[in-house]
Subunit: 352 residues, 5 copies
């Protein structure tokens, strides 16, 4: 996971199309789902002509393109739907921050999809751009992804209310899926933070530094995706007819509620991971204290004794004690009383 973005060459003409990011799929792929209250159709790998046709039809068309490295294809799609060159530039820059921008006849939203990579256990980030027109909606993804699978299912089944509504509701539904996915990631990190805390409190010897550091970095990365999206959704809500119909307002209020919740959870986790680091450092300094005490006790007990033994290892010709019959037992008595005195002193200091 790259935290920081790459830079483009300096002084390019604005609107110069340039893919910033890694190529994540082999080839660009264009698919769509088109529906109205009574029927729906869907297809993979369609042509640009089909796009043009979909744009002009009355039914709601959701076109999806995956594979941002294919600059020409993106440009061609942009031409069909009349997207501004600056918009296409933003779409191709996968390190762009989330935002909502209003144009004359469409809206551009950019946001991040974040999910835990099952294999590496690390966070993976993908940028999705969404242009919402009167009866068409295009999404640009870095690679084909199955996060919207369930949403497409809902459209296919005539059951949900989605079939009766326009592109603004579809945009809402897409954003809702994305925000839901944030909760998944947050909930996973939350669980891990809690179990890390628990294990740290039970076993203070545990070396948790790397983990805490990783969570802090991950939360920082999530923050960078979620905070600006909150702002973007708030701007989205303030749009007016015809881009936004009245019936969708209540759903957007709910969505904003959700993202606010996500932001607060995120902030709380950041606090929590900071607390955890404090805890780790304090525990670690406690361990050091422990070690120091063991050393001090050992040294303080034996160094004086060794000295006493050293005294009577001296080879002076006249050392009267050495001749005494009770000399040896008396030395033992002296050494034992020194030891007891030391132990009493440490006891009083509550060192053990």
């Amino acid at each position: 996971m790259r935290l920081f973005s790459e830079a483009k060459p300096i002084g390019l003409s604005p609107g110069t199309l340039l893919h910033v990011g890694r190529q994540k799929t082999e080839r660009g792929s264009l698919s769509f789902i088109d529906y109205n209250p009574t029927q729906h159709q869907t297809a993979q790998d369609i042509s640009l002509d089909k796009c043009r046709e979909l744009k002009n039809s009355d039914s709601v068309s959701w076109i999806n393109f995956s594979g941002l490295h294919d600059i020409e294809q993106v440009n061609a799609i942009g031409q069909v739907f009349g997207l501004h060159a600056l918009v296409l530039e933003d779409i191709l820059n996968t390190s762009h921050q989330p935002k909502c921008e209003e144009f004359d006849d469409y809206i551009l939203m950019i946001f991040k999809l974040i999910h835990l990579d099952a294999e590496t256990g690390q966070l993976d980030q993908e940028q999705i751009s969404m242009a919402v027109g009167p009866n068409w909606l295009i999404t640009f993804q870095e690679k084909p992804d199955d996060i919207f699978e369930r949403l497409r299912d809902r459209i296919s089944r005539a059951s949900g209310k989605i079939r009766n509504r326009g592109t603004d509701y579809l945009a809402y539904a897409i954003l809702d899926s994305v925000v839901d996915s944030y909760f998944h990631v947050l909930s996973k990190i939350g669980e891990e933070l809690e179990s890390l805390e628990e294990s740290l409190l039970l076993n203070p010897e545990r070396n948790a530094l790397h983990e805490i550091h990783r969570y802090k970095q991950e939360l920082m990365m999530l923050r960078r995706a979620i905070w600006p999206l909150q702002m973007a959704i708030s701007e989205f809500r303030q749009l007016e007819e015809p881009l936004l119909t009245e019936g969708t307002a209540i759903f957007l209020r709910d969505l904003q509620d959700h993202i606010t919740h996500a932001v607060e959870s995120l902030e709380m986790m950041r606090d929590s991971s900071a607390n955890l680091l404090d805890l780790y450092i304090s525990l670690s300094s406690q361990k050091m204290n422990e070690t120091m005490k063991v050393l001090t006790i050992m040294a303080s007990l034996f160094i004086p004794l060794t000295f006493i033994a050293g005294i009577y290892g001296m080879n002076f010709e006249t050392m009267p004690e050495l001749k005494w019959a009770w000399g040896y037992p008396m030395i033992w008595a002296l050494m034992i009383s020194v030891t007891v005195g030391m132990l009493w002193y440490f006891k009083r200091k509550k060192w053990f």
Copy 2:
């Protein structure tokens, strides 16, 4: 106590009813209390038909449902009182954050009940949702609870002013009980923080790290319940007739005062617990200093002496000192003066 919320599956249709949280009671239970200035009635385990009847009566009806895991029942009640599907979704999601939302003919408030579990001594959190209509008020609880017992008593006794007022005053009275309960928890934590501080200052050896950490986490959790409720109450105050009658305004101002007070107490406790951690760490480093000094004094006193003794333990054939008559006493004199010198040095360094 779970700090972080669980996540729902991604891509569900909005308004899909799903219970997020643990089942806390065996079965759902529906009860009510209905009153006007002259009379009141109350019953347990009533039917939905009774609800419908209560909705249409002129007197004020407070219906309470406990047992959020019973999705169907919640849905049925929602149908009776015309609650929006998104509202029911929020009610069932027990990790929802506190909020106040206005609808055409009712208000939804969500808040957290927090109390100390007498057994475990830990904070326990329950979500309560409250829908306030013109002459009905429904509360949804996770489990039957006795926090509102005293309030129901006040309604039963014809004495209080509550019997002469509408659902907005009842909603105020419920929120007031909840805010009062926050003060109980805060006051308890405040007392414990103060006694912890006192005991830490008296006995710096005390290991208070786990406790401080626990208070920090508890305060973080309380913060998550109280801050958004402050906002929600502020929104509640800004509602207009007929949902909010003029006579209730002064009570709501008082309520806002209280929750602001709670927020400030909370923030002060957070500061206080941060101070406590600083104090703990400083005391702990002081203890380490003490230990180091004991070690250094012991080692510095005896290592040179042991060396001197070692010298005269050597077995060289020609060591003139060993033959001297006063050799042994002179060595003692040397060792005593080294010791005195050391002690004087440590004294000057103010080490004891």
Copy 3:
């Protein structure tokens, strides 16, 4: 000094009168001072009837009640002056935060009196509530206090401008005395912080931890009294005729200036005490470094020497060195050169 507030029972009817706090005086006592430009009168232990009379007279009457534990008396006074039940509830709750609240025909202000207890040297806090009507002003105190003595003197002497003005100016004069008293406390703490800093810098061995912690707690407590009063005074300034007359505005601007100054001094002292803690911790770690160095120098000097002595204390039958005539002097030469080498090494490391 209690930092955190006590809690009331949950679910009481709003306006239920309950004294929250300690009883600080034996019995409630009601006194007054009544004045107009030409004359004034004053008396202790007056009756409620006298209050009623004062309320209806044209001259300015300042009634003072001390002894908040006497709930009935407080209630009776409230009845006389038409104070709302919620107002009386707030007056009796001595852990209420400072505030300014406007009612139809009077204003309620609550604030804290803070002074240093001469005996214990600790901060003492008392809550004062002030209701300001058109030509009467009542103050409620926890115990009789002499902070307003000088103010009453000014009223008695016909000299000051206070005799020519109404209750709004009297309220200003009372608040001004209170804010002045904050400056006294702040100035005292400021002096102590500075002398603590000085003594810490001169004598790094000084154990200042408890003191720094105490100042932090005291400043936190002052903050809780001063910040909300700043807000309250700002609201007071925004009141309109007839509660606030035009001539008083300039004095209130000055008062706001003062409290803002107090707030800034407070914040600077908080910064300063945080700096002091940083300094203490750094000095303490410096001392530890010193101790470590002494230990390391002692051990590094003597442990090798002791080893050398140990070598020649061995009892092997064939140790040629022991037989050499110059063996003993050579060993001394070896030991002296080891010592010199060590000392040179430590010198280069700048350890002494």
Copy 4:
């Protein structure tokens, strides 16, 4: 340098004149400079009558009084120019914070002059109050100062544009000098911070704690002078004719620019000194690590060797090794291999 302010007695009548601060000059001294586009005059130690005359003349008069301890003189000047009693009280309180206050026919500005005392190398602070009327401007200083010397020169020389403009431009010019002087102090501290940082990085042994602490305190003191002045200048800019003429607006914009720059430099230096403390603490803990390693290496090398030597210093009758011909060399071989093993271990741990 006193950081915190002194307090006045409690309960004084507002407008009571009282000098708060130290007396910094022997006697009060009143001087002026009066000018119009064509001529100017200046004099020292003028009388109050002259002041009265200057007030009524058409030319611009800048009267300066130094020596705030002379309360009567200040009061007399106040009477001449019709300054409010509260204004005079503020002028005499040398621990007042910077502010801008508008009155009916004049403006009051209070600000701090800060300069490095050449002798002590410490910051010295002086309060200056400035009342700006239609064609007169009075400054009150604690002691005669030469900071405005260059400004008076500019007035004397007919060259600058100052002679063609009114008191608002003069006020601007005075404030500009003061802000310039802040830059001098900031630039000095900035240089010292940079050289301190450099010397710390080159020579980590350097004890820089006192210095860092002093810079933090100095910056805190500067902050207290500069932040409120920024606000005051912003209020000054919002004044209207006739107190502020249109032509001065562009200069005030420039002044605000400067003070904003000063504020940002200040904040950056605060950050920088915090970074420096972090660096110092980290370096100090690094040194401790170093010391610990030396101790550990010495002890770990020699303690086992001393033990081995101790073994063969025992006096048991039957210790076969002592009789072996190769006993002594073998012991040396053992000890050398232990030493080599230890060194290899420390090498692997990268301890040297």
Copy 5:
């Protein structure tokens, strides 16, 4: 790289021209590029007369002056284009902060060019001032620089849209290049921070303190350039016709987007470097713990053994153990069991 700015002499007349900064090029040099949709011309080292001519022509003229130390030349150019004396003062003060200021017929923008010096690897900062008039734009640089080379190329090639637009678009294009250059620097620092973190986690022994400190200082310096520019661009966007034409608005929105992105990246890197310092300190304290453990283990193992050996090195006449046939082996047995006991104790403490 100087972090803090230099100060000018106090009390200078506003508008006094004074070069604040180092001379970075040998001599001032004036060049231009002039274009309209159909043609363009460019020249080096032109005269002031040419400037006057360019000012009055209808085509867009971009005049560039490098070499701010040449005050007279700057002043002369200022006269030609009617720049205010205060503007020229700001242009010459190379430690001025970025800003946007509107004048009657031109706009002044000041900003910083930041690039990594290829040789020293340090950040280098240059101030650029830009005055934008109706059909002329002047930039003042400290030294000739090639950052705008690509931009001039775009103008030369008739291809881009820049030839069809006015000075507002040219100003946008210049700012865009500058913001792009920030991304380059940020991206470089971001990469280095990430590789530093990685190396720190792999090899905790690595001394990364100086590097972390340097990044913190560099980011602080970047912050000082980028934050105010964000504000300045926001003010630039709010300008009105004729200084800003409608068609440029969408590009400025894009530019603001970019700079906001830069600010967020910057803040994240600051967070990240703070995290890194935390990590470094924690790792460093971990190493200390390690060292302490080695010392404690060594000392605790051998000190008791040495004591035992010392006992039997004493020379008492009657020490029965010394006579025992199995004395020596028994002592070995004792010493081995003490060692095993110690090892078991350390094992249980999880010290290795």
